[in-house]
């Protein structure tokens, strides 16, 4: 591989990796900090993407549409967590497996609802930066990937600051470390977790906007992202926002290099092989404690 091609592959990998980080960051909160087996996270991303598609039909920018939808998804997340907690989490030791089944059911309902409402055809959005590239000498970088890069960076910084600088953010970190301890301090861990799950879900329409900016979406697309999202969240070290960004970038670079070199079919195997290798050396993930 020539140096130029290698450089382009690296840049493309970083941009792609940031996109992976953005779609995984909500899961890093839900699964990484709250230990909720949220396999419906990719389905919520797709739901967010369809919401963005609907608003974009009126000419609103997809990313802005994602931000507009965020508060609604926050309340959706709060509602889903309250139900999950009341029916599964509170009941004891087998909540994990039953919770998994619950979120699988939620994902299925979301998918079927989208099929009934929108049909099964692929949907895309319109924006000035889609389908155009930035020319830097011989390099051409897709604007949509640059947008994904900027939004992912923004989301990571915002969530990192929120979790480290605000009272509620620290409470969320505390509930992840020692729920009983937090309760003894007089706080209600369930309310903290419900708030955190709301935040995790609120990231979905923004990441969903990136999903539909990057490529077409169809109701079943979430299934393709379950593996990737969990791979990034686990590779990051559960609950680490910086780690999520780093893990996404590592995954993106690995994929991009393999796709560029002779052996595109190996891209998923390399990505997941990387996950296994990291976990073998460092079971807590890259940034886990």
């Amino acid at each position: 591989m020539s140096f130029d091609l290698l450089a382009e592959a690296l840049i493309a990998g970083i941009l792609l990796g940031c996109f992976y980080a953005a779609v995984s960051i909500g899961l890093s909160v839900a699964f990484g900090l709250l230990y909720v087996p949220h396999i419906a996270h990719p389905a919520f991303l797709v739901l967010g993407a369809y919401g963005v598609y609907g608003i974009n039909q009126a000419g609103v920018d997809p990313i802005l549409a994602g931000v507009i939808l965020s508060p609604f998804f926050f309340f959706l997340g709060v509602g889903v967590y309250r139900f999950y907690h009341a029916v599964f989490e509170r009941r004891g030791s087998d909540a994990g497996l039953r919770g998994l089944a619950f979120f699988f059911g939620v994902a299925f309902i979301v998918e079927v609802a989208l099929i009934l409402n929108y049909g099964v055809d692929q949907r895309m959005v319109q924006a000035s930066y889609i389908g155009q590239g930035l020319s830097l000498g011989d390099y051409r970088l897709p604007y949509r990937m640059l947008v994904a890069f900027a939004v992912a960076l923004g989301l990571t910084v915002l969530l990192s600051l929120y979790l480290s600088r605000t009272f509620m953010g620290r409470a969320i970190k505390a509930v992840a470390q020692d729920e009983t301890g937090l309760a003894l301090m007089g706080a209600n861990p369930v309310k903290v977790k419900q708030w955190a799950f709301g935040i995790a879900t609120a990231t979905c329409p923004i990441a969903g906007a990136l999903l539909i900016v990057i490529g077409p979406v169809e109701p079943g697309l979430g299934r393709l992202y379950i593996g990737r999202c969990f791979c990034v969240a686990v590779l990051a070290g559960l609950g680490s926002m910086k780690g999520t960004l780093a893990a996404g970038v590592i995954l993106g670079i690995a994929e991009s290099l393999v796709l560029t070199s002779m052996g595109a079919s190996w891209a998923p195997a390399v990505a997941f092989g990387l996950l296994l290798a990291v976990l073998a050396v460092r079971p807590t993930g890259l940034f886990g404690r």
Binding site: V120, Q122, G131, P142, P216, E218, L259, T260, A264
Partner: protein, 412 residues
């Protein structure tokens, strides 16, 4: 005494009439599985709507053999592992009289051993080479192509017209894409073409910029892509953003999805110059009797059914499956699979998708896959595709409506 005799005659007449009456109420069951969910459901749903229109048409005319036609349909979720079980149920439990294959090669291939073992008639539904290995004598395809090699040759003939010497191949890791890409690889030598890039990509690839960069570095003069709907859209976007270099004279091939209305509308002018396979487009050489009337009726129902709005790709050919079955049943006055298969082998089929005869493996004896080039396509406009001139036919010669123009020239 006389009264008793009259009563007896009436009773006899009634008992003789009963079977006929019962027969009229006993529907002919046409069984199929077709994707209503999953990645193939876009085509599956629009195909099913076409079959439902055929069922309603045929029933409005009194059905087949005086019996109404009923469709027994299951959703295979685009999953090949489900289809053998579904077809076993259709045959053994639902007692289907006639069988239509699932949409697509990947879903049909697992059903072929079953229908061969039971010696059943199976109407193929847009498969490619599904019967090439198993050679079942009661399989008949609706798609206007005969084999991967023949399909690829039409594209390779276009490269010859443009004086191309080098080619790059990009294909999805899936049955259909690999079959057609294999056909291209087989045909390279006879056309004097050199392959400079040949990659299979995994089905869940998100961004194709990396692959297009690698491809561009090889400076091919032709690019053959075999892809599925989401990939096709992502590749076209990356093509616009990253470019493939000015050396490329022809780009496209077997990109499934570029026939779907939502993608054509969303991609708009990004499609200009791309040459892709198709089954039917509104060009003058495709004006078969009844096709436009069917499409008008399909399009009127498509919006409510949430399916492909234009319906140029699959629907006319799924309606044709019904017409083929009806023609054979009406001509032979039989539902015997052996009798029907003999009729299908020996007679010309008259359908809205054109008239044709079957060859030895149940594919069209004279394939009619067309390659279209997107020209002068505008953004955000579905109606532009309803008339001629936007998807001109550049091959084969018998159906050509415009000469192929070099990709690099159009994109300039």
């Amino acid at each position: 005494m006389i009264l008793n005799r009259v009563q007896a005659c009436l009773a006899l007449a009634a008992s003789l009439a009963m079977p006929a009456l019962g027969n009229a109420q006993n529907p002919i069951r046409v069984g199929l599985s077709i994707a209503q969910t999953g990645p193939l459901s876009g085509a599956g749903k629009s195909g099913l709507l076409a079959l439902q229109i055929w069922r309603d048409d045929v029933n409005a005319k009194g059905g087949l053999l005086g019996r109404p036609v009923e469709l027994v349909v299951y959703d295979d979720q685009s999953n090949p592992s489900t289809t053998p079980g579904i077809y076993t149920k259709l045959v053994d439990v639902d007692k289907a009289d006639l069988l239509i294959a699932p949409y697509g090669t990947n879903l049909t291939a697992p059903v072929m051993p079953l229908v061969k073992q039971r010696d059943l008639l199976l109407m193929g539904n847009f498969s490619l080479d599904a019967n090439a290995q198993i050679k079942h004598d009661k399989y008949f395809n609706n798609a206007p192509w005969s084999s991967a090699k023949a399909m690829a040759q039409a594209y390779l003939a276009l490269t010859g017209q443009l004086g191309v010497k080098t080619i790059a191949i990009l294909a999805a890791d899936a049955e259909f894409a690999q079959t057609i890409a294999g056909g291209v690889r087989q045909g390279l030598k006879e056309r004097g073409l050199e392959s400079v890039y040949d990659q299979n990509y995994p089905p869940n690839t998100v961004d194709f910029s990396s692959m297009l960069r690698a491809l561009r570095a090889k400076k091919p003069e032709a690019v053959f892509v075999a892809s599925y709907p989401s990939d096709s859209a992502a590749i076209i976007r990356a093509l616009n953003e990253t470019g493939v270099g000015s050396s490329v004279k022809i780009f496209g091939g077997a990109m499934v999805g570029l026939q779907y209305t939502t993608l054509m509308e969303s991609l708009g002018s990004m499609l200009n110059g791309v040459v892709n396979f198709h089954a039917w487009v509104p060009e003058r050489t495709m004006d078969f009797p009844g096709v436009r009337d069917f499409l008008a009726r399909y399009q009127a129902k498509a919006k409510d059914a949430n399916v492909d709005a234009l319906g140029f790709y699959i629907p006319p050919f799924d309606y044709a499956i019904g017409q083929i079955l009806a023609q054979a049943v009406n001509a032979t006055k039989s539902l015997d699979n052996k009798v029907l298969a003999k009729y299908l082998r020996e007679n010309e089929m008259k359908t809205i998708a054109g008239n044709f005869r079957y060859g030895p493996t149940g594919e069209w004896a004279s394939p009619r896959v067309i390659f279209v080039q997107f020209q002068d396509v505008l953004d955000k406009n579905t109606d532009q595709f309803r008339s001629a001139g936007k998807q001109v036919i550049v091959g084969p010669a018998a159906y050509k409506t415009a000469p192929v123009r070099p990709f690099s020239e159009i994109r300039r």
